[in-house]
Structure formats: C-alpha cells, structure tokens
Assembly symmetry: C2
Homo-oligomer: 809 residues x 2
C-alpha cells in the first residue's frame, strides 16, 4: 500500500503570534521599508520576539530585502525561502534559475512551518512580505493573491503614494478582499503633490472601515553608501517610534486579539442565538460546533477544540498550540460543493452580476445571465422533452413548482375535479425537501411525523438496492419483495449493474415491470388517484443514501408511460397527445437536486436510466457550491397546460429573487466549467481507479457502462470486507456511502455510524503541518463522504487512508 500523502495545510494562527502578510499595491511602493518599520516598532514592545519572512525574493543579493532588514533591524530574525538574483517577476526568475521551481504547496507549507517555529520559540510577531504587487505571479505562475489565500493571514497593504497610486491601492485592496483576505491596515508614504494619503484615508474610512496610516518618506539617496545607511538608520529610528507607526502596531495587536476572541466565543454565542436546521440543540455543547474561520478548495479552516476555551487560560499554557486545523468538507457542505470553496472564478462571476445588475425584476423581464443559463441547461440535459426553465430558490421550492406543474397537467388531461386530490407515485424513503408541499411527496416517516401540516399523498414503492458486500457487487432485493422480484443477484462490477440495456436484452426488467403494473392496478381498484411520478434518479439522498437498481426505476417510468389506463378518470375520455415529447400515463418528475449536474459523474443522473423526464429539478451543484438557486425544467406539453387567455390559468408561483443575476451568472460559470472538465477528461484519474476506461467518457454520448467514482474501487471493495461493521457500501461519482450494521433499526435516528464519524472528526491532532480532520455527516446508520468536482487525487488518498484506519478500530 502506498504511503498516504502528507496532511493538508492548517492556516497559521496562534494567540501568542501576531502574523501578518505585507502586500504591496504595486512594486516599489516601499514594502520593505514598511516591513522594517513595522518590525522595528513591534520589536520596541517585544524585543527579540519579532520575525520577518520573505518567501520569495528576486534581485541581486546586495539589494535583497533580508539584508535590508538585517542591517536596519538587527534584532529581528529574518529568513528568505527562495532567492533569485534576476530582478524580474518570480515566475520568470524561477524559470531562468535552472533550479526546481517550487510548487505553491511547497511555498505554503514552508511558510506555515516557519510560522509554527516562530510560535514554538515564543516569537510574538511575524511579518511575511510578498513580492511585487498583489497579483504578481509567484514562482509557479499563480498570482500571489491566489497562491497565499489558503494561509488566510491578515494583511497590511502598502499603498502607492505616486501618481496613479490611488487607483492602484484601491484595486489591490479589492483584489485581496474578493479573495477573502482581511486587510487590517493600509500604510503608505505621505506626499504633498498627489495627496494620495489624504484621499485614501477618507476613502477607506468611508467605504471599508479600514484605517490608513501615513508615514513620511525615507530620505533621498545620499552620495555615499555610508551616508545612506546613516540617514536610513536615523529615519527608521525616528519613524519606528512615531505614534502613527506604533498606532499601526497597536491596531494589529488588537485586531489579532479580536479575531481570536471572536473565534473562541462564536460557538457559545451560536448556541445562544442560532436555531440550527435539523439539529437537536439540547444535545450540543460548544465543542460540537464547527467554527469556520475560512475555507479553500476541499478544506475548511476550523477552530481546534482545545483552543475553544476562555481566552485567559489560552494565552498562557497553550500559547503555542495552533488554533486552526484543516477540516475536509466531507459532506460537500450539505451536498452543494463542487468547484472548491472560495473559487475565484465563481467569486468574480458573482461580483460581475452584482455589479452589473444587482437583482432585477424577473417577471416579464430577461437578463443575459438568466438567458444564457437557460439555454445552457436545456442543451446540456440532452432531453428532447425539456424546453422550459422555471427559476426558484432551492430544491424544495423547485419540487413544489414541479408538483404544481405535474399535478395540474394530469388533472386537466384526465378531467379530475378540484375535490379529487391526486397523489404521487414515488419510492419508499424518498425525500424531496422541507416545505410542506415537498414533504407531502414522501411517505410518513421520522422526518415528517412531527410536522403539523404534513399530509403525505401517494404510493411509495419499495425497491431493490445496489451495494458492494464483502467485495461483491450485488442487487439486494428487500425481503418482502423477494417473491415478486426474485433473489439478490451478484454482478461482476457496478458497471454491469448499470448496463440497463444489456440487462433488458436478457429480460431482467420483466419481473420489475410486472410487479409495478400489478401494484398500480391494485391501487387503482382501491380508488387511488395519481397525478405524477416523482423520483430521485439512482440515489435516494436524504432518505439514507440508497443506491437504487437503475433498472427498477427505468421499469417504473416505462410502465407508467405505457399505461394511461391506470391513471385516467373512469368513464371519461381524454385526448392522447400526438407529440412524441408529450407526457403519457403520468408526468414524470425527476428530482435531480442532489443527483444531477455531475454529483454522480454525469451532467444528468437521468442518463443512468436511459430515459427522459417530463419535469426535471436542479439545484445544489447548479451554482457550484456558492449561493442558492434552483431550476425546474419542463416540457412544452406541460407548459401548454397553463396556457390560455385566462390570467388565472398561469402558474402562480414565483419568489422575489427569481432568477437573481448573481445566482444565474455563478450557475452559468459552474455548469460550463464542469462541462469543460468533463470534455477535457479532468476525471480520468478517478475513472482509472478501477472503474472505467479513461477517455471513454464523452459529454455527448455516455455509454451505459461508464460508471465511476472519485473514490477508488479497491477502497470501496476493501472496506466492504469489514463485514463485522459494514453491511454494504457503494460509490458513484463523488459520493461514498458506507452502510453500517445497525442492531437498533432506528433508521434516520440511528447512532450506528456515529462512532466512525467521531473518529474522522477527531482526525489527526499531530499532523506535521498542523492538525487536520474530516468533517462529515451521517444519515442514520449510513456514513457518507462526498467530494467536490475539483477534489484532488491526493485528498482522496488522504481521506481513504484515514477511513481504512478508523473503520478497523
């Protein structure tokens, strides 16, 4: 077995160490002068306890920043990680150096290491100076603002006092701010002609509540080096004592304390002020609250539990313990996360739409983000039935929209009266959202039994599931259905199970279809009336992460579509639509909120069933994990149901922020990016982990057998052999679901998965790059882990390794 990769990066934060990153609004704005000044001013308060780090330096040794510091602030420890002699941008200098170009990770880890050393040996201040401007490229070519973001060091921005410097300073600030940096202080030289200081002090106070400090300019270059040194020494001596400089240090000191105090008190306050969703709060104490300082890629930076103590005790004994740890976002932030936390492309998409439109009235209106998103989705679905996009805010409201559409269509075609309430046909344990209408699509369960207005309307089929059990891929038939559906069946691979066409050729679907038809006939005889089919294709999410035999769902759709006789109103006629894209039997609603848009590896999860919905609901990954938005796609035939000369026939649904441009623009960016990744083979590494042949994926035509997961097949099969604890396991797309043996049988409210989860949450407290853990959720006896679409092979290996360990314990 290969060694697991090193732990992820923990953001550097210690109470005892005030670590700040110095960014420049431009090159040559005096970053090193300010670093020296601030370091000297800090050293006046904490002699011998100030450090300076230059991760990357370019230019001749004689002008190197560390030399400058050594000369003028001799009691400040200082270090340069990578030094290049050519005075150009680090990305060119590194390329020309004939040395190995350090990766972003190497730079971040070494910067964190240095900070950790500083904390361990009792340093009180650390200034980390960047090179050039905020977006100057680092050695790898990534711009510094992006590269250093995972560290989340608070920032001192050195403004530009020259002509044009106002613009440079504000733009640099904005570039940092939109990457989630906390810019705590702006400093720049005071200069009379352009008066940038005066303007910026007012500007930042008014717009950003950030203090701006002005410092007199250093002396002009003297004729001799000695004179120069003398003049500069005097300058530093005077200015580092100046109240404006020491004011900056005091401010940085107090902001550091505030940040930590806030992090420490946030859990307690949250439990006092917040009413958490789906949470029995009386069972929680502050240590159970995930205090999130920031997030990047797959990882949160969360407060380590040991530090969640009152600040008094903290500042002494545990002063060198790191306050933050990297936490793998193992629930993909409630199944929304796709393109990585704090993805700059999504941020800029959101900012663009906010800056061009804000929100604009959508009823009878149109704007480019909504127009382009609509056509992208309709095209991407490759479903000839779908022609219309209805916007709402989340999966639950999108389902209510779908219901209003489907039920009305059925009612009108079959001529049911307003009093004859129609139910839905669904699957047992399905869940479609938390608003009452969406809840009513689910059978009674622990989720809804204590909700006052819940009134489930429908019939819910039990169904065969897919699991890997003791290393074998199996279709499991529930005991009560054995007689109708036959026994469990083993398959060679997940792909074989998903080869629905191949299985149909062998007639596997016939028993399914017969069972479904018989059941629906029986219900019809009982006088039951139905108005729509609603299913989550392939995976029931909130209902317990159940992987359904796709052949069963396909059989359900096919039976319904060819059997209008089962749903018509007795003794009335109805018009059979002539269009091949019109619905027949019942409108078929696919709830792809969780399963769609690449969560299971494909644009649409309906493609696993090789069938097309009449109404399809999409949310969560739609916006790549940034803001709420939902689209309900419908066929023209369904749409026409609401079309008349009568205003009251319209679909009377709509939220204030319908099709808000920020959501639409972000969704457009996300969907296009995921499509591009799909086309470009970005997931070939995952496919080659025992799943499918890389390169066989193709956005325009997905072979039925192209099923794969971010999680390696051997991990899945190995874990499934822990038969004392694991009852079965499956992986598809970015989802891994481990069904644990549960003696109590309490379903959603079971504790079976809790101990494994606790092990993952405890994580690794002694990681070489700081502590780290896996934040994850359970659904009753199921522990699931969900990656994003940008999750790396390295992350997967790291989590897989921890998972093997924890499941063995």
């Amino acid at each position: 077995m290969p060694q697991p990769p090193p732990p992820p990066l923990a953001s550097p934060l210690w109470r005892s160490l005030r670590a700040y990153q110095i960014f420049g609004a431009n090159t040559e704005v005096g970053k090193t002068v300010f670093s020296t000044l601030l370091a000297k001013a800090a050293a006046r308060r904490s002699p011998g306890a100030v450090a300076f780090l230059k991760p990357v330096s370019t230019g001749p040794d004689s002008e190197a920043d560390d030399r400058h510091i050594t000369r003028f602030a001799p009691d400040v420890s200082n270090k340069t990680l990578f030094q290049y002699k050519i005075p150009v941008s680090p990305h060119i200098a590194a390329r020309l150096s004939n040395r190995t170009i350090p990766s972003n990770e190497a730079l971040l880890f070494q910067t964190r290491d240095y900070a950790a050393q500083c904390a361990n040996i009792g340093r009180k201040w650390l200034f980390v100076e960047t090179a050039g401007g905020v977006h100057s490229p680092g050695p790898s070519g990534t711009t510094q603002a992006d590269m250093y973001a995972p560290l989340r060091l608070p920032v001192v921005l050195v403004g530009d006092s020259r002509l044009g410097g106002i613009s440079q300073t504000i733009s640099a600030f904005e570039s940092l701010r939109m990457r989630g940096y906390d810019v705590e202080s702006v400093v720049l030289f005071k200069e009379d002609k352009y008066q940038n200081y005066e303007y910026l002090a007012e500007y930042f106070a008014e717009h950003h509540d950030v203090p701006v400090a002005g410092v007199v300019e250093p002396p002009e270059r003297k004729s001799s080096p000695e004179e120069d040194v003398r003049a500069m020494s005097q300058y530093y001596e005077e200015q580092s004592q100046h109240k404006d400089t020491s004011g900056v240090i005091s401010h940085l000191e107090s902001r550091h304390e505030q940040r930590i105090d806030q992090l420490n008190s946030m859990a307690t306050e949250a439990l006092r002020n917040i009413w958490y969703p789906f949470t029995q709060q009386s069972l929680l104490s502050p240590k159970d609250i995930n205090v999130i300082d920031s997030a990047h890629g797959d990882y949160f930076q969360t407060l380590t539990p040991c530090s969640a103590t009152p600040s008094q005790s903290d500042s002494s004994s545990s002063s060198s313990s790191s306050l933050l740890r990297a936490s793998f976002d193992g629930s993909a932030s409630w199944w929304t996360q796709g393109l990585g936390h704090a993805n700059p492309k999504l941020t800029l998409a959101a900012a663009y739409a906010a800056g061009r439109y804000g929100h604009v009235m959508f009823a009878s209106g149109i704007h480019r983000p909504a127009a382009e998103l609509s056509s992208t989705l309709l095209k991407g679905m490759q479903n000839p039935r779908l022609t219309r996009v209805f916007f709402s805010d989340n999966g639950s409201t999108g389902i209510e929209v779908a219901l209003k559409m489907g039920l009305r269509a059925a009612k009108l075609r079959y001529g049911w009266s307003a009093e004859e309430k129609l139910g839905v046909v669904g699957l047992k344990g399905s869940y479609h959202g938390d608003t009452i209408g969406a809840m009513d699509c689910s059978e009674p369960s622990g989720y809804n039994e204590k909700v006052e207005w819940y009134d489930g309307k429908g019939h819910w089929f039990d169904y065969p599931t897919v699991l890997c059990v003791d290393g074998k891929w199996r279709v499991n038939v529930p005991r009560e259905l054995r007689e109708a559906l036959g026994d469990d069946a083993d398959f060679g691979s997940l792909s074989d199970i998903f080869d629905v066409q191949g299985r149909e050729e062998k007639g596997h679907h016939l028993r399914y279809e017969a069972f479904i038809r018989e059941t629906l006939e029986r219900l019809q005889k009982q006088g039951r009336r139905f108005g729509s089919v609603i299913i989550e294709p392939v995976v029931l999410g909130a209902g317990g992460m159940a992987l359904v035999d796709p052949l069963f769902q396909r059989a359900l759709v096919n039976v319904v579509r060819k059997s209008p006789d089962l749903f018509r109103k007795p003794d009335t006629s109805f018009e059979t639509p002539s269009s091949p894209t019109a619905w027949t039997g019942l409108p078929i609603i696919f709830d792809e909120v969780f399963t769609g848009l690449y969560r299971l590896g494909r644009f649409s999860s309906s493609s696993f069933l090789e069938t097309h919905a009449d109404i399809s609901v999409h949310a969560k990954l739609l916006t790549g994990g940034l803001v709420p938005l939902c689209t309900t796609l419908a066929s023209e035939n369904i749409f026409q149901t609401f079309s008349s000369q009568d205003k009251t026939d319209a679909l009377l649904h709509g939220h204030s922020y319908t099709a808000h441009p920020v959501g639409c623009q972000v969704a457009l960016e996300s969907v296009k990016e995921m499509q591009k990744m799909d086309r470009g083979g970005s997931w070939n590494w995952a496919k080659s982990q025992g799943w499918a042949t890389p390169g066989s994926s193709n956005a325009s035509k997905q072979p039925a057998a192209d099923v794969w997961s971010t999680w390696p097949r051997d991990l899945v099969e190995d874990l499934s052999r822990q038969t004392d604890r694991v009852s079965g396991i499956w992986a598809l797309g970015s989802v891994l679901a481990i069904h644990l043996k549960d003696a109590s049988g309490t379903g959603y409210f079971s504790d079976a998965a809790q101990s494994v989860r606790d092990g993952l949450i405890a994580g690794d407290a002694e990681g070489v790059n700081g502590p780290w853990n896996v934040h994850c959720r359970v659904l009753g006896n199921v522990l699931y882990l969900m990656a994003g679409q940008k999750t790396t092979e390295e992350s997967v290996a790291r989590i897989g390794s921890l998972l093997r360990e924890r499941l063995k314990e």
Copy 2:
C-alpha cells in the same frame, strides 16, 4: 409647481456607433497611444467616421491627449470636456482650478450627449478615454470605475507592460469586472524583459476568455521634437495597419454586433425558453418583455421597444435611435430593492464572503457573517421576546419555518393530538408565499384555487383599511363589518391614524376587541382549532397593497394573548408559562418579509402596532436587493418547545444553502447601512415633504406618530382628488399604492390599473438625455410604486410629475 428634474441617463448604445471606453491599468501605460492607434485603425475602415472623447484631462496643453490625437490622427474628430492644466489627479486639479467642479451627473450627461451627437451624424466609432488608472478619482472625487458605471460602455483595458504591470492589469480588470463592465479587449505593449504580454495573454484566455493584444512599443524619445513627430507618425502608420491592431478593431466590431443581436433576440428567446412566474405567457409578445442590459441605482437600462426588431432593418433606418432607455424600477424589483442596483458596497460584501468561504455547511457550524448578522438582527428588532435566528432562503420558506414552530408550540401546550389539525388566524386576502404550506395560511382565492394541493386552514378576519380619499385620511370599514366596528372615520393625517396609544386612550380599540373576541368565541363553539396567528403588520402586500388600520391588528394580538381559553383543548389542563416573554393564547407570527427592514420607514413594521411578535419573518430588503435570504426569528419559549433528549423532536427543516455566507455578509452590510442612514437622518428630506418633523426619527425609540413616506404628502393628497378614477391612495415608507376604481370587481385579476401602468411604461420617448420610462407592476386594481432606500428626491419628483400627468389623461 416646480419644474420636474431632467430625465435620467440612458446608457449610450446605437447599432451604428461602436462606443468603447479606454481604461488604463495604471497611469502612463500608454492609453493615449492606444487610443490613437485604435482610432487610426478604425478610421482605415470607416474614414471620417471616428471620434475620440476625453471627458477629463489634466496636464499642460502641450501634452494634452486631444493634441496628440489631432496631430497623429487628424481625421479623427476629438473633444475634451474638462481640461485642467496641473498634471495631478483630476480631483485635485479641479479643486485647484477655481472653476466649478463638474458633478458626476454633468460628466455622464455630457459624455452621453457627445455619443448621441456622434450617432446622429453617422459616426461609426467613438473612443472615450479615462484619466489615470481605473480607480483614479474624477473631478468630484468619485473614482472613475464607479463614476462611469451607469454608462455601461464596453471597455478596452490598456495593460501595464512595466515591472509589476501584471499585477496592476489583473487588479484593474477585477475592479472593472466587479462593477459589471464588459472588458472586451486587453491591449498592452510587448516588452521582452518582464514579458507581461506573454503572461497576461495566457492568463486572460484561461481565466476570463478575453483576448489580449500586444503591440510593439513606440520609438524612444528623439533629440528634436520634429524627429519625435516623424518617428511617432511612422510608428502609428505601421502599427495601425498591423494585423494585431486591426484584429482588435474587428473583435470590438463583432462584440458590438453580438451585444445588440443578443439584446434584440433575448425577448423572443425568453418567451421560448423561460417559464415566467405569475405570468400568463400566452398574453405576452416579445415587446412586453423587459430586456435588461444593466442596472444602476434606481434605474434599469432596458432595450427600447422600437429597437426590438430584426437586426437587418435596424441597421439602416433606425440607426440613430438609441437602443437603451432608463427605466425606473417601480416595483423595486419585486419589493427587494433597497440600496440601489449594482451598489459597490454590496458587491464587495458578496465577493468577500464568496472569496473567504464560498458556501460552508451550517448545520452545527458557524461563521462570522452568520454570527454577526444574527446578533445585529436580534438587537435591531428591539423585541425582548426574540432570541433565536433560523435561516432559510426566501419569505415563503421562512413562513413555513414559522408555521412549523408556532403550530408545534400550540399543539404541545394545549395537548392536541396529531390528528387534530390546527388552523391559523389571519386576515382576509393575506398572502404569505407560494409553497403549499405558506399558501395554506391564506383563505381560498384566485391565487390558490387552481393549485392542486392547496388546502387553506384557518379563519381570516375582514378588517378596516386606511386610505386617503379625496384629500382626506380615512379609516374605511368594510360594509359587512359596519355594525360591529362602526362607520368610516376621518382623521387629520396619517399620523393621527397611526397614533395607536392616543386612540386607545380614547377607547377606539374597544369595539375592535369585542368583535374579535366574539368571532373567536363563535369559532370555538363550532369546534374550530387554531395554532397560530399570522399577519403582515400594517400592509397586506400581495393581497392587494392594503393598508390596515394598525389599531385593529393590535387589538387582534391583544385579544389572542389574553384569551388562552379560546384556544385550549377542552377538558384538559395546560401550563401557563411564567416568563413575561413567553407566548400566551397563540404564538403570534409577524410576516415582515415585505413590510420590515425599512420598507415602511422603520426597522420593524411591528413597531407601528407597538407590540412584539413571538416569531418574526424577514427577507426581501434583508439583503438590500441582491440575493435570496430569509431569517425566521423566534422567542426562547418557542425554541424550547423543540428541545428534548430526543433527536426527532428537533425542527426538521433546513436548506442546503442555509445561512450561506454570501447572503449573510450582504445582509449584514445592508442592515447596517440602513441603520446608519436611519440614525444619520438620510430620509429627513422625505419626512419634511409634509409628513413628520425631520429629526424626530430615532432608531432607539420611534414615536408612534413618526409615519412618513418617500412620496410627498401633497402628491398623495392631490392624486386622491382624481375621484373619477382613484378610489383611494396611501403612502408609507417607500410604498405608494393607488387604488383605482374597478367596475368589474375581479380583484387580483382586474384590469383597472392597466391603462395607467401602460402610460408609465410608455414613458417619455423623446427625453433630452434619451428615452426613459417607469417600469411598474399592478395588483388587480391597485397600481403601486415602490422606491428604494437610496432613492433620491430628484427621482421621486420626476416620477411624481409623470404620475400626475398620466393619471389626468
């Protein structure tokens, strides 16, 4: 009567004129060289049809940009609007000039005028060159990126080829992009040492899909001016013919066509792809669709109807007609708009949270934006009952959360069984959202009668309303309630009606209370069971913009609170809570989704009733008009109902994007900004329009009589005298509601207000600054106009004037 202010600014867009704004990544990056080059290259294609505008220029005449253009591109017309001789930033130069400092508006209007002239005389190209960098301050002190935003000219960004220029170029791009500029092209000098062109070409292709063009640098300065001129002439001659330069022109030309084609086809496509909310689409044609190119402040920029024709015919006959017009956002974008469209503060707040967190899992988690927003809201409400914040996505879901809370609390205290369904007590015509649970809180009506699963549960009181009729402020009692409530009553002012304490001292509430109690007693005898009161304080929004007598709603709350006997389960005991903040009678839910957060001029609309809710729902203005977010605030007593050692007792509700950081950060910024405006007297101009004494408003204690509106009292009273058409009118906060006489009596589906609305939408086609109109919505026979919290006195005067005109017609 004073003259109405001039029409608002229409963004300059004509098919025949390609107008681009040249921004620089920094000062001295060669903006003028590139302007000259592009103008010359454009003039090769369209001789004599190219213009250049420098709105503001600083520096000596001899170096002025217009001279440079005149010399090297003599066939390009050029103009400077404001010239200052001192070579400093325009904000300093203007101040030192001893001339009147031009306002932003003056600059924008003059720039648009020049563009209009160019279009009218058949120019094909216009380049508008800015001064310095993107954020260099204009004469007024506003930075150019903000100042020019309303024009929405597409941009050519001149990148910086010097050391540090990569950073400057990317940051400048980001500052423009987050203000909604379309940067169509980046151009910069090619230079070998720093290789910025090479880096940026790759960067912009990969990250932004924007082409970067590199041009060789101009020749070095020669020893004599003549040689200089000769060398530069030759440079321009060569480079303006170079394929890279002409490639830029071709690209700008095609982007211009694409933009217009897209605008022209968007309405047709929208009607084909979109399923609109609350809209009978069969009654719409493309000309009814509001095609929104951008928005700023109170105004959309929308496609003018005459231009919504196929592009072929457009390019010839109507080539000089402006394609865009300013449209006042008269529905405040479905009641959400508060701090102005495209407000840079809200954009940056959104971008910060996106960049620091993305979305992060909220169940058992906490992040700073959610923590700070929660405490700000709880504090701002000044309601000692409310201690808890539950997050959801929109008003409808927030109401469902409130219902789940309130109904369960009542059920548990009074010991109702699961089968004994509880209804709500509400007001006739109320509306609380579109999801089924929220719909079930409303009585049957045209809104819900065709919704399949709708099943209204409750009793809805008829109620007295407030209207200004023929210049008099009156409480109108519905005919069927006259006997119980007495006759209509006239008051001297709206404030007198809202003086609920004064009216109670006179005993006005006694008849209300008696009527309410008698009704509830009767319902109890009929076996009706209730679980919550749910009302919109003061104004019923979607139910027809009805202003309710606040004394009636107060009486309802008071009667319910002192009458647990009316709601208890017969023959069972219940515990009376000892806490003064616990609910009694029934939980009182205030739906402040529309009425709260300054929509009616106060933080909470409950303050008009001088009473406190047990559960309070807030959305729409919560995020200042940017993204969806809702909070349901609840009392500790309600919260404790769900608290036990049993997980299944928890409130099982929660959306994936619960408390998404982007929404929370934007809401925090919005709420704080509105509170600051309130404290700072930002609305004193409105209050002094006949409403209240300015300065009497005070966030910590609102006197009952402090009622005012953005819409002047004399406008309201004048319009109410048009008694042939107007049945009554009211204004409160930013809302103006004109109830028109409606013979048909078809309520929500009435057409009575349609003709007035059509007049406003037609607007003024011949405005001196281009066409403009008012986009507004009707609710049956009610035409309403809604301003934002940043709407200016000028806008209000402009709309008021048009309204007077249109109502007289």
